[in-house]
Symmetry: C2
Subunit: 254 residues, 2 copies
Amino acid sequence: MPSDPSGPDWKPLRRASAHELVIGAIEEQIAAGALTVGDLLPPERELAARLGVSRAGVREAVRVLESHGVLRSRPGVDGGTFVTPVPREALTRFLRLHIALSNFALEDVVDARVVLERASAARAATSHAEDGMTVMREALERMEAPGVSREDFNAADTAFHSGLAEASGSAVSAALTVSIRTALRGLILAAMQRSTSWEAVSDQLRAEHRAIYDAVAAGHGELAAELVERHIRSAADDLHLDPAAPGGRLSPWQ
Amino acid sequence: MPSDPSGPDWKPLRRASAHELVIGAIEEQIAAGALTVGDLLPPERELAARLGVSRAGVREAVRVLESHGVLRSRPGVDGGTFVTPVPREALTRFLRLHIALSNFALEDVVDARVVLERASAARAATSHAEDGMTVMREALERMEAPGVSREDFNAADTAFHSGLAEASGSAVSAALTVSIRTALRGLILAAMQRSTSWEAVSDQLRAEHRAIYDAVAAGHGELAAELVERHIRSAADDLHLDPAAPGGRLSPWQ
DNA sequence: TCGTTTCATTGGTCTGACCGCTAGATGGAC
DNA sequence: GTCCATCTAGCGGTCAGACCAATGAAACGA
């Protein structure tokens, strides 16, 4: 019997798999600063030999980090696997998958959007980062073009919210915002496609977007935040409660 | 010469790699609702044969989805690869990697934390989800235990903010909050380890956490949000400006 | 000198093999 | 009949080796 009354506390000792070891090794180099954006990794064959694993193990690790937007591979003599800085696609895929799996309730996703975009709007009203404002203006023009298709409208809608997030000047919030909106893109487009009163709906959306832009441009942060929240929630309601949709949380994809 | 003045607009035709096709196929099944949490995928060999790719391609795809918290594999006759709902680890690794790569400036990470946790605090004050409140209380007790180590203090600090996020009742915000705090864990712990005035610093942190908890428990949402923001920003300043740290954004890891 | 060909290097893919793990079938001891 | 140890089939985990595809640079010829 051990002297410690609480017991020796054996830890489970989960033997790490080969590819996890490789991921850990690469992550370690990144954390230590020995690998930064633009750097080239050793060839797969060499890295496998150095780490004492097979090439398959290295490749699986590279795939994982690639899917996280950390690495990118290219064949060719000048090619190789190098460190890259493109986090958004990974975040989008992540959210899209988990939304599809209902691991995240649509309601909670909307709540998160409201929190992030309210903050974005409020900050954008004071910072006015020109890139984002331009993106928003162009998106408005595309939405207001005569005879715009629902696909194009949805793309412009996504771009508008991306621009708003960019205009806020905070990269992390912007990445989260854009990823959430992009992950929802398919759902929103499906709802738009189903809409039987598209003219009225799109007029409404155009007016809301325009009002948000004006509030931001005029520097009215609190108003912009309020408009964004109402816009997101009413759009979500339309998405959620569309009478043409069969029941169920993720019905548009079924 | 093409009749269209803008040109035929050749798209690059990026040939999708085998594992991307497999990921797409699995994602498609998930989006269609044919695969949900708990479901078992076909054996790797069979799936490879059905999709017309090698087992390596299937395995690379499974690895990627596994790293996103969507699949999990287990050997054994009853084992297999099944759909699983554990998004947080994946989100944490993602953020940790990109913070380490300086793809996300620490300042922006802190901004995002402020936005998310202000909202969490305000909501927690009205919702009072009991799970989260209990987690916060226990974390406070651990922080206030005599002779607590810096590691344990940091773990309790993380737990406190997790509890706050849980108490807000919104799963997505909570996942984002917890992941950000966990991704910063190493940095914060390093800063704590370096601290030459740990007694004073930890007293300060204990007081701030206690004040936040009291404000939430008393239902003072706006006060709680304000306290959380000040707490996060002052802690970030200590982390960032610690005189013992060498210059540079990610110095604690260098 | 300039264009063409060849070549070496790298990732991309596939094949086939063997290992370790584990629930369930098997079979023997009582 | 019951219970326990053993065996077995099927699965993921890993590996080695081979060949394909892409690419830039060096070698070569007009």
